[in-house]
C-alpha cells in the first residue's frame, strides 16, 4: 500500500465495474435465439453469461465492503442508481454494432484487467487475474470478427463503419472519471481512466484501421488525439431512457416475487 485511499472510492470504482458488466451481459443475452448464425448465438450467449459472472465477482467484493447482496444490487436498485457507462446501456442494434461494441469493450477490459492484476488492493488484484484468463476468449472472438467483417463485403463494411461511427464516442464514456479517482491512482489501486483510455486507443486504433474502418482519431508524433466528444454521464447516473427500459426488462421477473428461492 503506497498511500491511504478512501473505502468509498473503492466502492465507487467496484460499482462502476459491476454495473458495466451486468448491463452489457444483458444486452448480449438479447441475441440468444436471434443471432445471424448458430455459432454466434452460442458465442454471445456464452459471453453474456461470462459478463454476468464477472458482475457477480465485483458485486461480491462490494458486499464484503459492507454493501448490499449482489441480487439486491442487480434486481432491486432503481435505474437511476446504476453507474454503468452509457455505452453498455444502448440497444443491441444490428449485428455489426454488437460486434463493434463488444470489441471496444473487450479491449477496455484487457487494459483495465491487466492493470488491476497489479493492483495494490488484493481482492481486486486476485479477481482481475481470474477474469483476465476468461476474457482471453472474448477478445480473440470479437477481434477476429472485426478483422473479418471490416472489409468482407460492401455491405459488411458499410454496416461496420456505421457501427464504429456510432460506438466510438460512446465507448470513450467507459473512461469517464469517477469520484475519488485521484486517491485510487495515488494508492496504486488502478492507474486512472485517462491512462487506461490512452492504452486502449493504442490497441483499438490499429486494429480498426487495419480492418479498413475509419476512426475519429488523429495521429501526430506518435500520440493519438481523439476528435469526437465522449458520450459521458453514466458514472454520474445521468442516463438515457434506454437504461430505464433495460432495467425494467432486467428486473421484471425478480419483481414478480422479490426474494423468491428458485
Amino acid at each position: 500500500m503506497t498511500a491511504a485511499f478512501s473505502q468509498e472510492a473503492v466502492k465507487t470504482f467496484l460499482l462502476a465495474l459491476a454495473d458495466d458488466e451486468l448491463m452489457l451481459g444483458h444486452r448480449d443475452s438479447e441475441w440468444t435465439g436471434h443471432a445471424p448464425v448458430l455459432e454466434e448465438d452460442i458465442a454471445l450467449s456464452n459471453i453474456a453469461q461470462d459478463e454476468l459472472g464477472h458482475s457477480l465477482v465485483w458485486y461480491t467484493l462490494l458486499q464484503q465492503l459492507g454493501g448490499n447482496d449482489p441480487d439486491a444490487m442487480a434486481f432491486e436498485r432503481p435505474w437511476k442508481e446504476f453507474t454503468c457507462c452509457r455505452f453498455v446501456t444502448y440497444p443491441k442494434g444490428d449485428f455489426a454494432y454488437t460486434v463493434v461494441r463488444q470489441y471496444l469493450f473487450d479491449e477496455a477490459e484487457q487494459v483495465r484487467l491487466r492493470a488491476l492484476a497489479h493492483s495494490s488492493y488484493l481482492p481486486i488484484k486476485e479477481a482481475a487475474a481470474k477474469i483476465l484468463r476468461e476474457e482471453a476468449y472474448h477478445i480473440l472472438h470479437s477481434k477476429s470478427l472485426v478483422e473479418r467483417l471490416g472489409d468482407a463485403t460492401e455491405e459488411s463494411h458499410r454496416r461496420m463503419q456505421a457501427a464504429v461511427d456510432a460506438a466510438f464516442p460512446q465507448a470513450l464514456g467507459m473512461f469517464e472519471q469517477i469520484e475519488g479517482e485521484d486517491g485510487l491512482k495515488a494508492a496504486g489501486v488502478f492507474p486512472g481512466n485517462s491512462e487506461l483510455q490512452l492504452q486502449w486507443l493504442h490497441q483499438v486504433v490499429p486494429v480498426l484501421s487495419g480492418a479498413t474502418l475509419r476512426v475519429p482519431v488523429t495521429e501526430a508524433n506518435g500520440s493519438l488525439a481523439v476528435r469526437v466528444a465522449p458520450d459521458t454521464g453514466g458514472r454520474r447516473k445521468d442516463h438515457s431512457e434506454h437504461l430505464r427500459q433495460l432495467v425494467d426488462d432486467l428486473q421484471a421477473v425478480y419483481r414478480i416475487a422479490p426474494g423468491a428461492r428458485w
Binding site: 458465442a43 457477480l56 477474469i131 476468461e134 472472438h141
Partner: protein, 163 residues
Amino acid sequence: MNSNNIDTAAIWHELAAISDPEIPVLSLVEMKVIRSVELTADGVKVMLSPTFVGCPAMEHMKAEIRARLSDLGIENVIIETSFSPPWSTDMLDDEVKEKLRAFGIAPPPKNDGELVAVLALPVACPFCHSTNTHLESAFGATLCKQIYYCDDCRQSFERFKPI
C-alpha cells in the same frame, strides 16, 4: 454435533463422491474446484475455486457440499470462494484428463498461462485420436467447452477450454 471427532480425511472422502454437475465422470475434488477443507471450532470451512466465475452450477455445487457434510453430521459449514491462484486446467492431473477424453471431451493441453499460443495447437479427436480436426465454434454448450469437428471420423466433439 461436534465436528471435532471427524477428521478431514473423512470429509475429503465424502466430498470426493460429489460429481461435477456438467461432467458427471469427474468429481469436484478431481476437478480441483474444492480447493481446501479446514476444521473450524464448531464446523468446517470449504474453499471453492470456480472453473469459470459465471458457471451457473456453483450454487448447485454448494448445496451438494452442504448436503454431504450434513450426512456426516456437520451442519455448520462455511463455503468461501478463492481466486488465488486462479483455477486453471493446468491443475488437472493426467488421469483426470484421460477420464475426460474417455467421456468424449478432448482434454485441455497444458497452457502455462499462454492461452493464445495454446489455442493454435492441433486438437486430437477423443474418439479416433486424429488431429485432422478443426474448430467449429470457440464457444460451446457450457462456459468451459468449445466445439470441434473431426475431419477423419466425421464426428463433432467437445473440447475443454484451456484456461
